[in-house]
Symmetry: D3
Subunit: 241 residues, 6 copies
């Protein structure tokens, strides 16, 4: 099983980080590879940056299929380029947000998403109506630590635990979903933190690691996205970038 | 990885069938075991039969957890006892219908469910509002072959293909979901049948096999159902059966 | 008019209590009879206990129809066995929660349900999507007094009034619905209590008594549940309890 | 028990008809009285005619409360003046459409409404979102016989049966609701007609008679509409008609 | 372009006020005329007053069409008589609430409506389900200043700003909609007030002025309401007021 | 008033066509200018082509604001780049699909969209949940004439009329919305065609021309999109195309 993670960023350091984040949950026989963009933004914190990133994201996914990869994950909860790429390839292209939201809906009545910045919340809101899961969302909250400062793990876990506890107590969340793939690897620490606050039995979903598991599951049994929803584009003239 | 399939029936023949149906998609390191009910109906085709089956289904799931099993699947799209059992154990208890419906919603805009008998459709309908996925359901259709006669595989595949083609052409389905775990193993044949009718790129979901994959995925990363949604019952007097 | 109340419990004391609770609103020509379970739990506070209760609940309802009863009420807001029983009989089988929720929706824009324990709330939540009335629910609240200690009427009325006032003031409720049939007989006292807090004109629905009135109304004019929704189960082998 | 039926029409003949239509289901101790409008339209087949009728409908309901009546029914599925009148009185003011729709939703998964004319359907549609029951509506159909020609009972029953059968077979209706109170008294004949076409177990709701039963039920136990939803209007200058 | 504003009131002073309120946003070539009711209430603060106002509102709109007017606006967020009038004329009849709600939905994720009195909120709530925009409503709030005292502009702007700021901060509103046409002309002052509180970029919609702009837009390109939704009433006997 | 139309295409011929299509409905004092893309696809018929077009669409909109334009319209019903551009500018950026859908919802109960190709329908479907107007959509239909062959006006009007008539008769549409801005200028001919088939009073919405009117209306009164929904992106490193 080969899974390719496309990181929608030109920041070189993210390559090693991506490998580290996506590998822990993978099966021993799963080979994770990571690719960055050649052209695009340093990180994605707006719809504008999504538009800058999408052309090369799609290229990298087309390339991944040619490389014989079994499934692709786009490493961003905004899911830039995910739907466009599904038109261009036959392998599954996993959206980290929608996967986490559907699995969260299986595990409990309502989930809260804890994202990075308050300003990311309006952008995240589109996933509710798009997936049809608006009513399963208890709340959207933010730790308010910028993406590029998230390497202070202790601070991040503390803030995630705090917001998760408030989501459970004040918003009625039954499940917690991380709102940024950069939070990968912290689910267990947050579950521990919640227990210390007397909140046990609340699953914490790490969308990066879950995406790998769902990619493995779909690829194993040959399921991919419907060509009725994502038909192959017609051939035509394009002035490329 | 150990997965236990609980078959909500007293029919001895279903034991071997269950093993055969649930094994194909499993990973080499996954051990599937199957258990029947001691008391209950021959098969489940009504809400009434569900009530007869549920006490022993829950017992078998509690037993499975004691046996050290990692996840349990209840082999019936009505999901009898699934939610009750989640209160009693800590391991994931997979509902085959809701898993298939959530994954179908990830793969395309709308799915149709092809079940056994027309009379099963009203019972299946409850899964729409319950999962919040009503709007993703293009249609519910039936092959109208009784559960206990479903061993004529050719006839079943033909009828499934026919209904699936109508679901795509007339109801706008983008994904097909089998409505009975007894249809396990026929997804590929139905996809082939659809292609021969000019319908390609429509994923066909086999809920039995998918349930195994999702059980593996959740158990691998330690995710289970929320105790906020399924709290442990209080201790009290019960006059058992 | 004969109405049978099925109490899903083996607790002998509940028989007299049931008679006392369900009689006040009945018409003079309505004869209320009460039946307990032979096998089942002492009370129902979990989905697990529902599964233990349902086989005998259905038996008691089938028996009621044979006794010439005109309508049956299951004395539990979780409505265990109600839908299964509708498949087995032709008389109306009244669900106390759904009846109260539909009538509350007729009386005002939004209602709040005041139930017994916080842990009952997740179980009650399923009635929202099931009835299609999710958007009419202002909030679900609990008095947090265990079912088996609810005989302290004064304490219960005080707690109900308090929670109802908060539902009106903080959650925007226009109608109050009791969330447990064990609260029967207290609606007037709670309405009085609300008035003393300056909240008048808020109807308080006692689902037990309302169920009797709706049973009378339906039976009077020969309305019962649709056999398209609740078809009669096929005959087959069952290893009974 | 005293129930007043307000007929939103100036047509004298409707008075005797109303009494005949609303009496059959009433309890022996229920006294039905009927009142016409002094000013208004001959019948209501448009929103425009509703506006002409509403001032006097509200007057007649205020008068009914002064007469010591226990509950009022407005004899029109458009429910003209019903919500305004609830602001002005404390007794229940029953809407025939919303009552029928809520009870139909209790009896089965989906209902169809069979109304008089196709042109009435857009007006009826508002009841879906207003009651929150849009998803329970299988279809809206019409017999296409004008209100003022509905006295040919045989023709009407035949047309109602035909449309009801199509609603069940083609639209998936599980329950039938008459869409005009002028169809009162024909439910049994339509149920018979359906049986002759092989459709049994489908309840047919006569909203006029059901309204009487629900009026009796609410008045018996002192339930009326919420003053939070229908607050009493402030005093002010009005140039009356 | 000729636009007629129908003020659903008999209060003479409202005529000049209406002209003043509706003129500012109009194009130079747009001629605004205003008409009061001959019979009706002093102002509309209840459903009851709506019923008193509607017959003459419809008359005035029919008259407007005869006068060669291009579009009509009813000067009340309750939109009394708007739908009935659409049956009687071919020119657009603009509802101020629904226009503001649809435009607010185009401008941001969620809007809050700031109306006059708390007691107006339940009446406003019907617009949510009716327009299908319930989920876009962040909250409904009131300044709690009576309609007939709203001429203290400073007090009103201060209260509107305060409630708008709370709507943004506490309820998550992205857009503000005035809930009463009597607030016309204050949008800019409220936007300024919000900025002084550190809330910038939040559009404030003045439904009166917006209604003029949408009336101009529709009339310019010959769009009016569908006769499928608002069919012309049949001819029949009416005893008028 | 200056309005800029951004045509998401590199096809030179579209420039004159765009000017011709967007000018008819504009006010005499409105100046329409048109701009093509420097880099991008020949036309947009897939999500993939949208990703190719979006970077330059956003650039052209940023440029338009610098040019002192009052509002921008993106000439494509897929609305590529519209939301991203709203983050980058303060002037209104009009989405042709959402504007048409909201106005259609004001004009009647339900609308149908007639688009170009069947394969465009799945892409159009996203606008339903996104705008919250899913339930107002009666159907999505296609004329099945490729974008680049749409210059045969007669054939196109005939096909549009045919599909519109079917939408009204079979799908219950009350309003028709063109699903492609390339159909601009044909609304009147289609309304005529419908009348000849006995269907009158059904508004036909031309989204291109409507977008101009709504742009004029918003710009006139200083309304633009909320910065709470579309916050300004942070400054950061971007490797541009």
């Amino acid at each position: 099983m080969k899974i390719r993670v496309v990181i929608p960023s030109i920041t070189k350091e993210f390559e090693a980080m991506g490998l580290e984040q996506y590998s822990p949950g993978a099966r021993p026989d799963t080979e994770i590879s990571v690719t960055l963009l050649d052209r695009g933004p340093a990180s994605i914190e707006s719809r504008y940056e999504e538009t800058i990133a999408v052309p090369d994201i799609v290229s990298k996914i087309v390339e991944a299929e040619k490389d014989g990869v079994d499934a692709v994950i786009v490493d961003c909860m905004a899911e830039p380029g995910v739907q466009a790429a599904r038109e261009m390839v036959s392998i599954p292209v996993i959206g980290t947000a929608e996967t986490a939201m559907h699995v969260a809906s299986m595990l409990g009545h309502r989930f809260s998403v804890i994202t990075v910045l308050d300003r990311a919340i309006p952008r995240f809101e589109r996933h509710g109506p798009r997936t049809g899961l608006s009513r399963q969302i208890a709340s959207l909250r933010a730790v308010n630590i910028p993406v590029l400062e998230m390497d202070d793990t202790k601070r991040l876990v503390k803030a995630l635990t705090e917001q998760s506890a408030m989501a459970v107590r004040e918003d009625g969340a039954h499940v917690i979903v991380f709102g940024c793939t950069g939070m990968a690897g912290m689910a267990q620490a947050v579950e521990e933190g919640l227990k210390q606050q007397g909140i046990s039995g609340v699953p914490v979903i790490d969308p990066a690691i879950l995406a790998v598991k769902v990619a493995e599951a779909l690829a194993d049994i040959g399921l991919s996205h419907s060509k009725r929803t994502y038909p192959k584009p017609p051939e035509k003239e394009i002035v490329a970038y």
